[in-house]
Subunit: 283 residues, 2 copies
Amino acid sequence: MEHDVTWQRVWVNAEEAWSLCVDDRGLAYGDGLFETMRCRAGAIPLLERHLARLAESASRLRIPIDVDMLRDEIGRFCSLPVDGGSGAVIKLIVTRGRGGRGYAVSAANPPTRVLLRRALPSYPHRWWDEGVAVRYCDIRLGMNTALAGIKHLNRLEQVMARLEWDDSDIAEGLMADQKGRIVEGVSSNLFLVTGGRLITPPIEDCGVAGVMRGLILDEAPRLLGLPSVTGRCERALLAAAQELFLCNAVVGVWPVRRLGSRTWPVGPITRKVQAHVAAIFGS
Amino acid sequence: MEHDVTWQRVWVNAEEAWSLCVDDRGLAYGDGLFETMRCRAGAIPLLERHLARLAESASRLRIPIDVDMLRDEIGRFCSLPVDGGSGAVIKLIVTRGRGGRGYAVSAANPPTRVLLRRALPSYPHRWWDEGVAVRYCDIRLGMNTALAGIKHLNRLEQVMARLEWDDSDIAEGLMADQKGRIVEGVSSNLFLVTGGRLITPPIEDCGVAGVMRGLILDEAPRLLGLPSVTGRCERALLAAAQELFLCNAVVGVWPVRRLGSRTWPVGPITRKVQAHVAAIFGS
């Protein structure tokens, strides 16, 4: 869900740089994490949620990060002057660092931090206004509770899923787990409104526990007066839903307009969540 | 199964370099492949097997590699003068290249090639002579037929498995799939001798189809007069095996001396396979 743009600024370990040591474990093994964050007027509205997820993920992967140092570094990076509009995307990559003995980790090497900044992607306005067309992907997500939820750098399944289509009218693909249950989009999480409840698939065996997903789960009950729950989502449940929408921390909320043979108008619940998120982003 | 050493030589896209563009998809998504090859007197005895696996894997991942160009490049890299012994390990990383639109691939960018050379790892001689002690890992391998067999850069499961122990007497850990069936070592494949057959776990749902595993499967019948087959390996089958050994394209063959509460002397089949591989490596 990101458009091709030039990175406007790049820091590696807090210094301007465009390259990384070739023996970094991020390259060798995908041994690291990333966050893709929306920046507004030099600040990231959801920064604390991003940092909380990063900290929890790093703890699970036993990558020793210093969250206060990262917060400070991200703050300084966001405040750098950049030509162009006020909105931007900040991508943070944190790897376990360099070297080690093959897979074995060398405790001597600190994590590597990469910060990248680019302009907001320029998707068509109608994707927010009228919704997006979505497809089902063939490739499925491997299941492993040890890695589920973590936004780590092992993302070949998503790359292969995204290779399945090149129709630019299709905004996103939905991915199922090994049992055929729909879990998420290639780079978004999924919500549906059905039976008076807001439902999103559980992220227990696979999938990314998205920051925007977390925000919506937390804030929907107060905002909507509806219970928000996790629940298994078979294709039939999606086809029968009153409303469907996708979300992530860059685009906010996209209503689903078409999936398979079914189409939807943009529903009132989706619109309310979308407006709430847009207000946070100032968009 | 690799010891920490300094890389003696590094090429990035056929030029001496120690760094990689920060927007390479190898870092962003683990979107690439690698081969770890043993070099002897400036040549790689199993080069064609490595290239064949690489080509098949690249085809499955739709990474457009030029095998003839790679063969030539590896040949020139191996023949560079290096201080020290004649044996070396050559690691090749091939990524899908730079950039693209998020997960979506830009066809304009060619794959990135990284070649690294280091001395052979210095494991204790007794690991070959008397065998190695091995443990079972807790973390399991996710299952996905779309990626099974491929030596890709998504290796977090192996990193997490290797973090489970730091006892330097334990040479390797065995990893099971989600159903508890033993599939491979963290950086090796597994064979067992039982009931007059040589058995290795199938690489269908997960695991790496190792080059040394392929060689042994192909050559064992003629070498040993035994059928070599793939078969599901529960822990009970391992505990009851007459012989167990591990293999990869760097160390060759390590007999398993101890696993759990069971110990084995080095068996005659293992010794024969080991000698065969050592002759290929000239070691």
